[in-house]
Structures are given as C-alpha cells and as structure tokens.
Symmetry: C2
Subunit: 398 residues, 2 copies
C-alpha cells in the first residue's frame, strides 16, 4: 500500500497546465497570477518628501550655518516646483510631494518656526537626503514586482495597481464535477426517510473549491446501480477534475472501480496508508483528466481534499504546496496503526504561545468535530505517541 507521500507524488505527476485567460483587476482577487509583473517606473517614482516641512540644500545648514530661509513656494503632492531654489531659500513641501531637484533634504515642520515668507530652524546639522524617500529605493523600473503562480491577495492586487496592470493574465479555472453515490443518499431539498442520509459531501467539497474561486461545479447524486453510474459518470469524464464520494468500500464497492474501468478510466491506485480517508481511489481518464473516488464519510472527504486533491489543484495552478505550520500539541496522543493519521485540532493562543488542542471525535463519520476545529494535525506513521507539547505539522482548513 502506498504511503501518503508516494500517493501525493503520483497524483501530482498527473497534474496539467490549465491554460490562461485575462481578467479585469476587479475580478482578479483569489485567482492565480499567470504572468510575471514588472514595474514600468521606479518606485517611488521621484524623490518624495516623507514629511511635511521645508525642502532645503543641506549644505546651507551644514556648511554655511544658515538658519533663516526665504520661503519661495508651496509644494503639494501632485505639484511640480515652478522655481529654482537658491542658497538661503527653501520650499514649503507636503508629504508625498516631489522634492525639487535643487533641494537635497527636508526639515520637518516640527523643527522650524514660521512667519509669512520666512522659515527659521534651530537645527545645526542635517543629513543629506534626510526625510526623503529616494526615487527607486523600494524597487527600480523594469524589475520584477510580482512573481507569477501566486494567489492574488490584497497586497498583490495593490502591487498590480502600482504597475498599472488592470488586465491580468490568470490561470484558467478547472472544470469540476462532484458525484455523491449511494442508495441511501438524497438531496438536502428532499424529505428524508429514516434510513436515508442527506448529501453533505458535495456541499463541503464545493466550499473547498470556492476557496480558489471555483464556483461553477456540476453535482450529481447517483444510486449504487451499475447502469445509472455508467451513464451518469460517463457524461462527466470531460471534466478536468471529477470527484466521487461513497461506493468505494469493499462490499457494495467494487461498483465504482468497475464502472470507471468500463468507462475507460485507468486505475492508478486504490489504497493509501492514511487514516481517515481510505479507501482512496485515484485514476486517469483517456484524456489524462483526474478522477478521485473518496469514501462517503464526511471527515474522510475533508481530509482527502486537504491531503490529496488540494495539492493536485495547486500543482495544476503551479502554486507551491500548502505549507504545514508546526505547533505544540496540547495533549498526548497515541495511535495503533502504522498509517499517517489526521485529526481535528483547534488553535489555542494563550500565555504568549499557540498550541493545538485535539478535538474529541468519533472517527471518520463524525460531522461535528471538524466544525469545532481550525484544521487537521498530523500524527506521522512512524510515531506511536505524540508527547504533550511536541511540535507537529498542522494544515489550516482555509
């Protein structure tokens, strides 16, 4: 049976480039940038006053010991100095305004006394370029500002705007379909009979995909009947990502692998050393598209998304894998299996530190534990016991 790492690596080897499209900056949030963004000018684009004050020549103070200046002009942000400043003269300047080329320092208004047309200062020395943000000190023209293959977050949106990019090349979104299978599964819009279970997995999975702005997802409920499965699933094999939940356990179960084989989906593997999340079936259509068949238990579906499907999706987008964060476990945990075990945890911050509190849960069918958790901790296969305060890897739900 494959380890989690082996399974991830095999799945990711089937990732493919989704192509690109152009979107307006107002629709770029949370999309994946597909072009490197270069600056078209220095930033700051000019020597910018960092303070409200007076632009002067530093030598007037440092060498000529001048401390009374004639104010020849007022300069606001967005203005250009009209006059050339001579020794003994100064220009009143506001934060953000371009420092005139004849000046090389700004005295803060707090360090001056002002009368109409005149500025006195008590300063004996001032550093050249004091209180000036120098042209290009942040980034130069034609440098790379934003590297491609990142999620466009608020700061990156701002950087795109700085570069004047309002049409943005982003990765296309994959076409996704989600099929919940099982004779007992019904739509949440229908009345439920005592032996029926409402379909919750498709809603959970749609939420996970929405985190990547993938909203247009086809969903289908199918009974465990071979002909119905063949016809229903058969129509969805053109999707980039097809997810099935339910119907892969041993009993009823050979149905899904058998139906997928009939439809020309090649089985890549069927089991992984993971708990929960098994049986986890992965295959590839004749066109090279991914088919994930998950168990029907809600918590298993959530773990399978975070551990296998999300890394695959990120790989298609050329994103870095979601990094685990390490936190100390607020408790002790034993396990019996030799599998990687994921368990729900809540982040607790107190006394200047953050730790992971494991949430009690009844196993993979539990619907309440994950609601009360911030993500999943990982009990690694080769560790029998996690000791109190041991640092373990943690994946945030979002």
């Amino acid at each position: 049976m494959l380890t989690v790492k082996e399974a991830q690596s095999i799945i990711n080897s089937y990732s493919f480039f989704l192509g690109t499209e152009e979107v307006d900056i107002d629709h770029a949030f949370n999309r994946i940038l597909a072009e490197d963004i270069y600056t078209d000018r220095d930033y700051p684009p000019f020597n910018r006053s960092a303070m409200d004050g007076f632009a002067i020549k530093s030598a007037d103070i440092n060498d000529k010991q001048i401390n009374e200046f004639e104010v020849i002009e007022d300069l606001f942000a967005g203005d250009i100095a009209a006059k050339e400043m001579q020794s003994g003269q100064c220009i009143r300047i506001m934060t953000g305004a371009p420092v005139p080329s004849s000046a090389n320092a700004v005295i803060r208004v707090e360090d001056t006394v002002n009368q109409p047309g005149t500025m006195h200062t008590k300063l004996n020395t001032i550093k050249p370029w004091q209180n000036i943000s120098l042209k290009g000190e942040d980034i130069n023209k034609s440098e790379m500002l934003v590297r491609k293959n990142q999620v466009i977050n608020p700061a990156i949106l701002g950087a795109l705007a700085v570069a004047g990019k309002y049409k943005i090349k982003v990765h296309k979104l994959p076409a996704v379909a989600i099929v919940s299978t099982g004779n007992e599964i019904i739509s949440i819009k229908n009345p439920v009979k005592p032996y029926q279970i409402r379909d919750s997995n498709s809603h959970t999975l749609k939420g996970f995909f929405k985190q990547y702005d993938i909203g247009n997802i086809e969903t289908l409920l199918l009974a465990d009947k071979k002909e119905e499965l063949k016809s229903g699933i058969g129509k969805l094999l053109d999707k980039d990502i097809l997810i099935l939940s339910g119907g892969v356990s041993k009993g009823d179960a050979d149905f899904i692998p058998e139906v997928l084989a009939f439809l020309g989906v090649k089985e890549i593997f069927h089991r992984v050393q993971i708990k929960p999340g098994n049986p986890f079936w992965f295959g590839i259509t004749s066109a090279g598209k991914a088919v994930f068949a998950l168990p029907g238990n809600p918590f298993s579906v959530q773990v399978a998304f975070k551990v296998f499907i999300e890394p695959y999706l990120r790989k298609c987008f050329a994103l870095e894998p979601m990094a685990s964060l390490y936190f100390p476990l607020l408790g002790l945990k034993n396990k019996k299996t030799k599998f990687d075990e994921y368990f729900p945890c809540r982040l607790i911050s107190e006394n200047n530190s953050t730790g992971l509190l494991p949430i009690d849960f009844n196993g993979s069918g539990d619907i309440t534990a994950s609601i009360h958790s911030d993500g999943i901790g990982l009990h690694l296969s080769d560790e029998e016991t996690i000791n109190e305060q041991s640092s373990i890897p943690f994946l945030l739900w979002n």
Copy 2:
C-alpha cells in the same frame, strides 16, 4: 494619544447589527451565519454498520458459541431489513447500512469465511455493538449543531446540509465605499505623469473586503480640493463603512477632518500609538456609520485594515476577533518608538518548527515587502527589543 487597544475598543463600541437575509446554500460560502442550526434527527440517524461484514446477535458467539451462521438477507446502504433474524442466523451487511434491530454486532468480512448461504467465523468473542456507529453517538436530535455568528466554511456547509438547511439566514453585508484622495493620485487606467501616483489602495482594500464576500464597493478618486471633497464624500455618507486614504497628514491634511466636520461627521479620535498606520482618523456620521480616514501609504493602509477596520467589521458581524497566532521570531528586532509596531513577516517551517522571518522593508510607503510576507508581526509598545526566538503575536493577511 490612544493606545491601539483603546482605539480598537472605542471603534468597536460603534459597531452595529447589519441585519440578516436569507441565501441559498450555494451562495452561503464565506458568509456569516446568523442563526443557530439545530439537528432535526439523531446523527447517525440509525445504528449504522461501520464495516462490510455480517450483522449477528453477540450472544450467539459469546454465550452460545455458535460459529456457523445462516445468511438470510443482504443489506445495502439505503435498504431496510425485510426479515427478523433468529439465533444462528446473520444478515450480510455493507458499510453505511442500518443494522437490523434484531442484531447487536457486526463481524468484519475479514473475520469470516463464506459459502453461498453460510458464514463461518473464527471469532470466540465479540463485544456487543462492535463495528456499529450508534444512533445519535455523534449528535442527538434537536441539539445545536452549528452556533451562529461564524464564517461559513466548507465543514459548516456540510453540517448545514446534514441538517437539511438549504435556505440559510446570514448577516447582511455592509455597504462600503472607498475614497482615495490626493492631487497626485490617478486611476490605474490612465496614463501616469512623472509626478503622479497610481491609486493602489482602493484595490488592496477591495481585496480585503472580498475575503468577507463583500464585492459591491463604490470607489472614488478625489483631488485635495475642499469643494470636490465635500461634494464627493457627501454623497457617500449613507454607506455603512466609508474609508478614505490620503490627506490626513498635517500639511495638506486638515482638509479631510475639516471637510468631514463640515459634512456632520463627528471626530472620535485622530491619532493612535501605532506604527505604521498614523495618522489614523476615526469618526461617526450623524446616522452612526463609521468613517475611517487612513494615511496614503500602502503598507499603512494594510496595517490599518488588519488592526482597526477588520476587527470593526467582525464586530458588526458578531464574529470573534481574528486571533493572533504566536510564533518565534527568526531574528532580533529593536525599535525606537513607544508605539505598537507592526512589521511584515514570512512564515518559515523547517526542522519541525514554524517561525517568523521579518522581511526587509523601507517603511510605510513600501509596496514590495508585504507581497513577500504572510502577515504582520507585532512588536509591542513596551518592549524595546525582541530577542531571537522570542514568541510574538502574528496576524495572517488572510
């Protein structure tokens, strides 16, 4: 001058209930739940087989030492047992199927040998209720399943589905407007002159609001001209949240407070002991709506959102404040001010621990540092030095 905590507390005291609306479950992701959700049935809703195997009476094995059973029926998920099982009989059962009331244990298929109509087992004992998920063991009927005033994440979407809720009461979204002011500020769609700066702050802020599904935001660029400001801002005072950036520093700056006063917006405070993010002006319209006036520097705007505006927004939604996470600082940091200082950091996970790497930056006008960071670390006002590996509070950008 107010401390950050004092300022936050004052701002939050002006929060108000936005009202509620009903959305379909397909539009509920990332919205804020506004009703407590109760279960309408036990979960599991019936004694559910946790394994593929055979439902039996445990006393047949434990007391009567029977190890050969007649198979009287096959039971799939979604089926109801048609027959009453007698001693010495068993029912073949699949994972997820309801255990018949005449049985009280399931033997795993792996522990049996089967021939048509007959099942043999090598087991000498079996615990009553072995391999059965008991009705209600996760949660009982009429218990609270999801507490209101939480962000609806994938697991909560699944729980809403379990409860059969497809119309969800959520908090209404606030009406938001963002005004960028400054003679030098131009739209990113216009050609830029050497002394002009493209408006990036409105794009950054719109990104932050999108994290809460708030997408319909009015934006406006206004020059530093009193009449233009009065007329432009005057039309936006009916918004729930109005954000201005630029024009609050001392020089050009009394414009914004003066214009807001003219428009009947009451100043609550003007400065906070924070770096960057000052001057930070907060006021309230005659109708009690919030007006935030921020400095124009990009990094200041980002910090002001995370530290003041997001907590206010969350309070309006009745959400818990965004919790800081604590991580060790991978470096040493000194500061000169007595203010709370926020600085960009990247999360680095290696050698089984996660730490914060401070990102070099040129101060509040820097557009590149935050792109390379995962969030902001906090250097608390009363600490002159943060020592290497000291644990500090950290806020993720998202």
